[in-house]
Symmetry: D2
Subunit: 319 residues, 4 copies
Amino acid sequence: MPDRTDPEGAIAEAAEKYSNWGRWGSGDVLGTVNFIDADTRRAAAALVRTGESFSLAQSFDMNGPQKGWRRRTNPVHTMLDTGVDAALGNQGFPHGIGGADDVVSMPLQCSTQWDGLGHIFDHGRAWNGRDAAKVVTSEGDLVTGIEHMAAPVTGRGVLLDVGRVVGEDGELPDGFAITAEHLKATAEAHGVRVGRGDIVCVRTGRLARARREGWGDYAGGPAPGLSFTTAGWLHGTEIAAIATDTWGFEVRPNEFDDAFQPLHQVAIPHIGLLIGEMWDLDALAERCAADGVHAFFLTAAPIPFTGAVGSPVNPIAVK
Amino acid sequence: MPDRTDPEGAIAEAAEKYSNWGRWGSGDVLGTVNFIDADTRRAAAALVRTGESFSLAQSFDMNGPQKGWRRRTNPVHTMLDTGVDAALGNQGFPHGIGGADDVVSMPLQCSTQWDGLGHIFDHGRAWNGRDAAKVVTSEGDLVTGIEHMAAPVTGRGVLLDVGRVVGEDGELPDGFAITAEHLKATAEAHGVRVGRGDIVCVRTGRLARARREGWGDYAGGPAPGLSFTTAGWLHGTEIAAIATDTWGFEVRPNEFDDAFQPLHQVAIPHIGLLIGEMWDLDALAERCAADGVHAFFLTAAPIPFTGAVGSPVNPIAVK
Amino acid sequence: MPDRTDPEGAIAEAAEKYSNWGRWGSGDVLGTVNFIDADTRRAAAALVRTGESFSLAQSFDMNGPQKGWRRRTNPVHTMLDTGVDAALGNQGFPHGIGGADDVVSMPLQCSTQWDGLGHIFDHGRAWNGRDAAKVVTSEGDLVTGIEHMAAPVTGRGVLLDVGRVVGEDGELPDGFAITAEHLKATAEAHGVRVGRGDIVCVRTGRLARARREGWGDYAGGPAPGLSFTTAGWLHGTEIAAIATDTWGFEVRPNEFDDAFQPLHQVAIPHIGLLIGEMWDLDALAERCAADGVHAFFLTAAPIPFTGAVGSPVNPIAVK
Amino acid sequence: MPDRTDPEGAIAEAAEKYSNWGRWGSGDVLGTVNFIDADTRRAAAALVRTGESFSLAQSFDMNGPQKGWRRRTNPVHTMLDTGVDAALGNQGFPHGIGGADDVVSMPLQCSTQWDGLGHIFDHGRAWNGRDAAKVVTSEGDLVTGIEHMAAPVTGRGVLLDVGRVVGEDGELPDGFAITAEHLKATAEAHGVRVGRGDIVCVRTGRLARARREGWGDYAGGPAPGLSFTTAGWLHGTEIAAIATDTWGFEVRPNEFDDAFQPLHQVAIPHIGLLIGEMWDLDALAERCAADGVHAFFLTAAPIPFTGAVGSPVNPIAVK
């Protein structure tokens, strides 16, 4: 384990060891998503056995976990027109047609989401070594906006149900740091291999607990999650993306005395890793436990908001 | 062709002939999406040959076509935090970490989207015969909200490039009504069969024209699109969903003297058909024309806003 | 006191006794604001002695009391452009000019506000006996929208500091029902008369407590406020408007066993009374206590959102 | 007139001549609003003769002039609850009470507004010489946010109806540069004096034209407005604020070959002048022309969004 008192040193060391800067050229905007190619995708499609589909999205509504931290609210969905008005003839349309329409205001990272490559910086550096001040301005991410991820994020998904394999009653406690050893043991228990181009889904059980006990501090509070020490595993496995059922992907409280999301600081700007948060893996996990198959075809295409540094996604797993 | 002066009569007749009310029970919330099942989905996965993926979404930003009709704007994306601020040390985080975050305000039908089953009513009746006033209130669609479509909309996609087969230079002119004959001829030209559970993508070329000439009245103005007379084809083929590269799916101006989206009035509340609009089919169409294969695996999972009557989607086709 | 078990009966009785329906004609859209006229306004201007001005608005930001009840959030304010970007030359303007710009998403009743006449209904009836279903649709208040209040709400303000006169340490406890007797006694203690056309500001001390102890359940929880029994006083005094430093104007919990804002149900649709909530009266109250003068010139002009049923306001008192 | 080819030189010269930096101390956040004091406000109240009130706000709705420039839209107002739902009993409240509630998403400068002191910078410098990058970040204006203007902006208003005095049929043509001489001649024609602490309202007639002919390019297009050469008058008169009935306060096209709002660049960061835009002065102007009295009591209190660089306002003139 790194020195608890020196997050900055530990981050610098990991950043240097696991950097992918330049690996896909100076103009790269995809990071580890480059590991997904047509071949891996074709192979992933061949995994489909039953044709069952699973949405890995939480719901998007006011009953979500957000409480206002950094101006993040739950999505506010309102109607422009309703069936009530249509039924009463308030709409002024001809021949009995009526309609309903709606709008939403929301943070792009309020519910199930991908962190874009412009979401996190290390000492003013964004993915691939770029100057953060030139990448993400008030106009959005001018270089690595989430729109670049519109097409490629579909391929082989692997569920690592660490909550079930390592935890009690399917859940890891808050503050539990998932290490590379836990990840490997879980894969082994599942009989699945994790490798290049995979989209790895790590289930901790934290969301199941929130469902049972209420959101509480789900958004920003203590949670199980990836240990800072997994940076090497994240880099070495050459996975394309990773997602968890927690708010913040990595373990909280963090493993340093005074720190904030230190693994993000290595994973996003240095590894170029696509990170998913607040995914709902519970139904899929039930099914995988039942049939013993933990790899599947996964499509996790973000809504391509131009210049966004994160985006809502409804990931679909097909078994 | 129906009597141009009597849209209401024509709608009533088509509604009666092609109604699916009760077909999947009184509690149904999926409509024709019921035609997709695990078998059709498994068969669709077997279509994957090359592993190439295509996003069928337009971009989501202020450069879109909306001009304010019924309070529909383009999406307004703003930053909560930026790389500029991170680089200047304005954020107050420890150990050199910086972040960017963003929000959006938008109509749910401003860009590439699915119309939910609660989007259109016929004389106060919603899908399956329900009272529209009990289905879609100010709180949203309480019965058939788009969240029910979160998981199932993945299966066999079929591109019908009517613009290329029937049009000139790949485009149909505004006001061109696509009939069942055009659809069948296009399928035949492609060597593809359309059937139960398919998600049909109809390319008219209207978006390509907007790209070349500017949006103009893309949102709400004249466009090629499905003829009112296709209602029987939409019903009889037992397709699960259909999407176009136009704002409004059906031909505009409509084929009646004084009408507004009459085919919607049959297709959504009576057939229970999932309709997609403003899809970008151009890149996929190029590829299909090149390889001659017009069926593919398609995942088109809406963001599951609870109670929404429409939702943004980033459809992903894998060939 | 009315029968605790029969709110509906009590409301019906008060509604009949204190109704102003028809008083200003069938087309009226102003209610008791009609009591303000040029004469009362001129007389009010003559009250100005020192020229000091006081804002009676709370701040509008994410540090507000809203917690999501009925989709009410605090205002989300984001920047379209910043000084940081301007300083770095990211904006592309000529000759060294730079700019900042911003947007907000918010409920119109999230902070200091007026309730419009379309905010509350009694058994489907809106102000002046209109059918609520014809007045406030998805398009907003088509008849009594807050835009009608744009000009007239300026005149004589009167502070009734009930917290200071009746309470302990300047504050009334939660659940304290302010009666007409309390209001009269407070006016008498202040040496001020309340009458036709006045805009009455009732200070309970609830906001001061929230400032000291945190918001807690300020929005929607227990609070001091006007007793249901004040309906007669509200009607008989012919005041134009009344505002409090609480979330909900009337005492909470309400004075019936199972009730929700029963005084609103009389005051808005029947009396046609303009009600202000979440005002900040503390600084003004300090000054009035010091100089013994509790009447002043008050301008409380809502932002005229067309069709709004409530609106933010920054009320300005000039002594 | 300054050299058309050298806006930067002209701005620098005017900035030096008319700077108020340091005039009210290094911590100042009010700029020329400091010129309003209790005495000027008391004197202004004494101007009230008839008690008539006028709202100088345009309406706030989708029928406004914004077309998306720099992501500025018109305000999108939607309902959270409606009278229609209340009438149908959809709301679940007891004893027959029903309610309507609403939300808005809007740029703070979409309609009648004040520009805050953090709205415009000159070569990275904000009002009072501060570093723009330290003043307005993604979190808003940390120093000179509009909340500081919550209380003081009430005092003596003066209408200068230049459209009526200098124009034809009450309107100045687009591109007409109003000089100090025009302002003085207008004041003389009105028999009114402009001086320290005044809030000056300049009517050009541009809004009347937009009302008659449609918005066209009202937002950002050609318009009459203040000449760059009025900088000295703006500074020397010691007025507290100035507002126009145009989108951009100063004449457009600007008086330099390649320029963007050059008078703003002097007036806001150097003079510290509060500038109002998109005011509706027409009804007031009619009345002033009729009674010959052009000074009045004016309350123009912005909604105090914390950290905002501009804010909607409903200015109220009382004659």
